[in-house]
Symmetry: C2
Subunit: 135 residues, 2 copies
DNA sequence: CAGCATCCATGACGATACTG
DNA sequence: CAGTATCGTCATGGATGCTG
């Protein structure tokens, strides 16, 4: 994604229709990997899966995120229909973010991933050390 | 990760022990997201989940990957203990890659993700178009 | 066949400052 | 509080050419 625009770089109708082949460079499902791939989307979705949250709440809970990246990522997720933005017109304004039903389906796989990480990261680390010793 | 080294940038013993908090910037599980995050790891793991494959076989099946990225990603995956490299000493040499049991556990979550993508990408695209119209 | 080395562009991301 | 704008950095990854 470019810094200044959110537009999708245009798949042809032909490639858009052809679903299912993840390994095709033009397959729209590659977009999912791009979204999952960015540094923060998964973390945000996971948190919003717990309960709705306001901007600064998210910012506090996610260690190391800048507000630029938080707002940028939230907008991408909103654009994709994965996150819902709700403005509460108080003064000062409050903004609450929620996960959509669409994203909630994705969440179970995402959760599985993180559980795998938490339970197997030790094995990964020792594999890394073994690898580094023999090289 | 740097271009020239695979070394992990050193978490303190204290943070290494503390498992489970993905939202902590120093949590080792962030590594998983980094690995998942790179453009090709998931695709490679998914393919190797089908059956073992040789280098050029992978290259052919994954649209758009360069051999630089393929070999680089394979080495990272091997270092993490997710992929196993096996050299067949013929001439010319053949190299076969396989998934490890450790990675196979991860694969079910990854597979779930891709299925989600393949079934819901249409909704995502229409959400994007809706979003783009109102802005 | 299965890579490694090098060069280079782009874009992801962080830091900082400012606003309704 | 919840952002936007701008600037700079550095890593990601593509292209190309070479090797055992």
């Amino acid at each position: 994604m470019q810094e200044s625009t959110l537009k999708t770089p245009g798949y042809s109708d032909e490639t858009t229709k052809r679903q299912g082949n993840v390994y095709d460079a033009n397959c729209p499902t590659r977009q999912l990997l791009d979204r999952i791939g960015d540094k923060w989307s998964v973390l945000i979705l996971l948190l919003l899966g717990e309960h709705d949250m306001r901007f600064n709440e998210l910012k506090k809970r996610i260690g190391g995120i800048s507000q630029k990246m938080l707002s940028q990522t939230l907008r991408s997720l909103e654009r994709d229909g994965l996150v819902c933005r709700h403005v509460i017109p108080t003064r000062p304004i409050l903004v609450s973010y929620a996960i959509t039903p669409l994203a909630r389906e994705l969440l179970s796989s995402l959760g599985g991933m993180m559980i795998w990480a938490e339970t197997h990261m030790k094995e990964v680390r020792s594999a890394q050390e073994r690898f580094d010793r023999n090289s």
